[in-house]
Symmetry: C2
């Protein structure tokens, strides 16, 4: 059995930045060649970043991607690394109009290029285009029609892209006839809690069915509302994971895989419609690949913390913000946001602002100051009473209008400081609040990024407890004041207000919301699960009426199977609940 030395290059590209992405690929090729890799697999759309959305509809973008690939192939060869085969993801096109009859506006394939010795040997074009959840690939791409394998050493490698692995009747059906020695899947698969196990199970099913190892290489990094978690792996037919990349960071895994020769497995006389891309001779290897330290596995809460941190860090850095600013209310949401920001960016890039009003409790200020002290971040206090009262008086506001005014003056303060000093403003609202519209639009909702957008309140508490206990385990100061975790949540917009004056307990609320939003459960279903009918009816009404506010909300990292934003598309004007 030949030994294939495979490199999985888990990269973090920037969408549209062909120069820096190509540079990253070129660099990884050099490192892999130093270790005699035969083949280096880069993730889906690794040359352009992902998702490129409607950039796929722009002819000049496709031309630039093509030119960039050509140049990259030449550069890799010029570096002396040309005999190593590279699999590089990119959009290709415009494709022939005859292929586009069912896709009147899309013009590109979502492709994997096979590159060696300065040339593109061939392409595979993704056949299954996800068009659900956050994905719009049927909008932006034309499906490929031909299954593809790479012949290298003397084995055939089945090459597919992401969704191809998830759907029945995929290209693996055709590829099975070749009896490939390896299944290679290049992916742009965003993080969701619980998703890792699903990927592993699916990979095992395919590896087992085709009696061949499956190598899975994934993107890593934050891109707007998505976080790619990496976690590339090699799955053996037995179900054992023989090698694994780290989570939430770039990595280059070089691994030796025993692959069956195609002569011993495939019947050469068999007619298939598979496009077989035949490579030139590849480097010869000396010794075994270096054993890696197995990446530590992590709890689900830690995964979520890391995903949120990465999503925030990449949004800030890729968009060139020097720093972030956020309001610190003394409450749990702003405390968790500030702690995430410090973990993402370091304390010197985070500014916290306390903005007490006449309704603010003493602990709101002391807890905020305590948090800032624990995090070693810049902290300033901007009382709002003297700013609010001229408006309240001039306009004659009372009741909810006056409550919103306080939140809006805080928004004006944060945006003023952000504009003056160049910070990105973070908005600290959590998913439960966004769901029921428990926020002031243009008030506490101001900001370019919402770290907790997809985190229900009950999970905010879990994250806070986890982060503090991790600090204790490391002998560090727990960042979040215990009082911020334990006190009853309140918007403090009127005397003695608490969230539970107008909402059920968060355990109850979050369960109702999960059923209604994620599970598409009906009113009857939710009541049937044991919830109070009047409460359910009220919560569903609140969720539906808040759609217009959510539509104007900041983006934030998706960590669930159903995030607000492009994952859940509903009319504002609607009469069904």
């Amino acid at each position: 059995m030949p030994v294939l030395r495979l490199a999985l290059a888990q990269t973090n590209p920037r969408v549209g930045d062909l120069v820096s992405n190509a540079e990253k690929i070129r660099h990884a090729m050099g490192r892999a060649r130093e270790q005699d890799a035969h083949l280096v697999a880069f993730p889906e759309m690794s040359l352009t970043g992902y998702p490129i959305e409607d950039l796929a509809l722009r002819r000049d973008f496709l031309e630039r991607a093509h030119d960039s690939l050509t140049q990259l192939a030449a550069d890799i060869a010029a570096d002396g690394n040309g005999d190593t085969v590279a699999i590089i993801g990119l959009p290709t096109g415009p494709v022939s109009p005859t292929l586009r009859t069912t896709h009147p506006h899309a013009m590109a394939h979502n492709s994997a290029a096979v590159v060696q010795n300065g040339r593109v040997l061939g392409y595979y074009h993704k056949q299954h285009l996800p068009n659900y959840s956050v994905f719009d690939e049927y909008r932006n791409f034309v499906p490929g029609t031909r299954a593809t394998a790479i012949r290298l050493l003397d084995t055939d490698i089945a090459l597919i892209i992401c969704e191809d692995m998830w759907q029945e009747n995929g290209p693996l059906d055709a590829l099975d006839a070749l009896k490939p020695g390896l299944i290679l899947v290049i992916n742009g698969s965003p993080f969701e809690r619980d998703k890792t196990d699903v990927r592993h199970k699916l990979a095992h099913a395919h590896a087992n069915a085709m009696d061949a190892p499956l190598a899975y290489v994934n993107l890593v990094g934050g891109q707007d509302d998505l976080v790619f978690d990496g976690q590339s792996f090699v799955m053996l037919p037995s179900g054992t994971i023989s090698d694994r990349a780290v989570a939430f960071d770039e990595d280059l895994v070089i691994t030796d895989i025993n692959v069956a020769s195609h002569v011993s497995r495939a019947d050469h006389h068999l007619e298939t419609d598979v496009n077989v891309i035949v490579t030139d001779p590849v480097p010869s290897i000396s010794g075994s690949s270096v054993d890696r330290i197995e990446p530590a596995s992590m709890s689900e809460v830690e995964e979520i913390w890391r995903a949120l941190t990465l999503g925030l860090r990449d949004y800030v850095n890729k968009n060139n913000f020097p720093s972030v600013i956020l309001g610190l209310s003394g409450g749990i949401d702003s405390a968790v946001c500030a702690s995430l920001a410090v973990d993402a960016l370091g304390p010197e890039r985070v500014v916290g602002v306390s903005m007490p009003s006449k309704y603010s409790s003493d602990h709101s200020q002391t807890d905020a100051a305590d948090l800032a002290h624990r995090l070693s971040i810049r902290f300033q206090t901007e009382p709002i009473a003297n700013l609010v009262s001229p408006l309240e008086t001039q306009l004659g506001l009372d009741s909810v209008a006056a409550e919103n005014l306080q939140a809006r003056i805080r928004g004006v303060i944060l945006m003023g400081l952000a504009n003056q000093e160049g910070h990105l403003t973070l908005t600290t609202g959590n998913k439960s609040e966004l769901a029921v519209g428990y926020s002031t639009i243009y008030g506490d909702s101001v900001g370019g990024f919402a770290p907790l957008k997809d985190v229900p309140k009950t999970l905010v508490w879990e994250l806070a407890r986890w982060r503090n206990s991790r600090a204790v385990a490391l002998g560090e100061t727990p960042p979040i004041p215990e009082n911020s975790i334990s006190k009853p949540p309140s918007a403090e917009l009127r005397p003695d207000q608490t969230d539970q004056d107008s909402l059920p307990p968060y355990e109850v609320l979050d369960d109702i919301l999960e059923r209604y939003i994620s599970d598409h459960a009906s009113f009857g279903d939710i009541v049937g699960a044991g919830h109070d009918a009047a409460t359910v009816s009220r919560i569903i009404g609140l969720v539906n009426r808040a759609e217009w506010k959510r539509r104007q909300g900041a983006i934030g990292p998706k960590i669930s199977g159903m995030a607000f934003g492009r994952d859940r598309r509903l009319p504002i004007t609607a009469f069904f609940g």
Copy 2:
């Protein structure tokens, strides 16, 4: 040749409101039956409203739509109108999982039900699902597979839905074998400037090719960012439009059509895969249908004015707002918005607020007051100097941060009054400003609806001139002060500022934007068309950097082939311009 008495019921449903939509259909059936109609065609999704977006993924919604149709069929029969055939659009499902292999998440068809004598005789399921521009139908629906005709009198009526007419290889290919006496297309086709002619040409091509009249019935009304214009029509094979419904309002067109008998046209021995739904006997007619007054045709500018008016009116009314509030700066954008609002809602439902600062010119206040006077709307003045200075001083803001502060205090005032008094806030920004980010987020951008969101600045002026000249023609007071049209546009956030300090003339800007945004032109293409390279480069940069602001913007009516919002989906974090 039999005479078919056809009613085209151009209705304005409310999304999700099954009760009121069914009531509307039932009422139209009564009116059509009074005039002996054989067949009443309602638009696409007329029972549920359109687009329903991810409501199509909810099982309880599909069940309720089904129950509602069953009840409606019984009600029509109970009213004594059962022998008239009704074609009613609705989602149907959940469809069998075996049909859903390429659509792992969708579960409904986009269907037309054929209803008569209290029963649903059969369904046609839309085959071509638009998944470009604002449409996500591949996300939300499962395509049908079987062409369908209705046999009535002794003719066959080819039945298709909207996009089926626009794509090649559509169901009309199969239906052609039947030699139908009529082609019936039910539509949910949103308004775009120049689209009417395209529809007519396409209808003529099909009518001519199949040698049969084509009846086209369309929705009317505003639904979030879409405006359905109605304009249902009957196209003869010759290219003559024999009957036409009004634009931008509900209508019921009853028209007699000479239809060829199927026995005289179709070869009964021909095998087709067409599903033929055979109806019971239909009412007999007496005399001819009543001649209608031909709806007046209108100029493109008038069409746009009417589309914007309808979009605004339906957003306000369907969402139960008693009134709207907007800032009046004395400039052209707020003047046009206020005039649209008065045309949409009447003057008693519109409130204008002048919010002068120390940089405001005298004419900004006099022009605003003049506008309010001409429109007879409530007008109040809220100077901002004393509200801005405490913030400016406390925070130490200057430069752009101080300019934005003024805009944000105005936003706080409008939202405060809106919250206090129950108005919907309108934001008055135009498409050119939104494109280049020439607005203050959470400042002049506050509001739930943006009437000019898809209207470039040069078209704002055209609309103003058209509206004034229409008033003159009707002997009314022109609503928009001449000075608001003729003066140079300015944000008035610093002394002597005008838009052209930092932007090219609007004629130039709008041409660059049209090419870049609507035509997907590259930098090179735009420069090749004669624009200055440095200007083009700067404008493209501004457009790309403003994506995050647009993502948080209010919705507004789409009138172009490429509106901001779900029509144009691009990453915020991106490095390609």
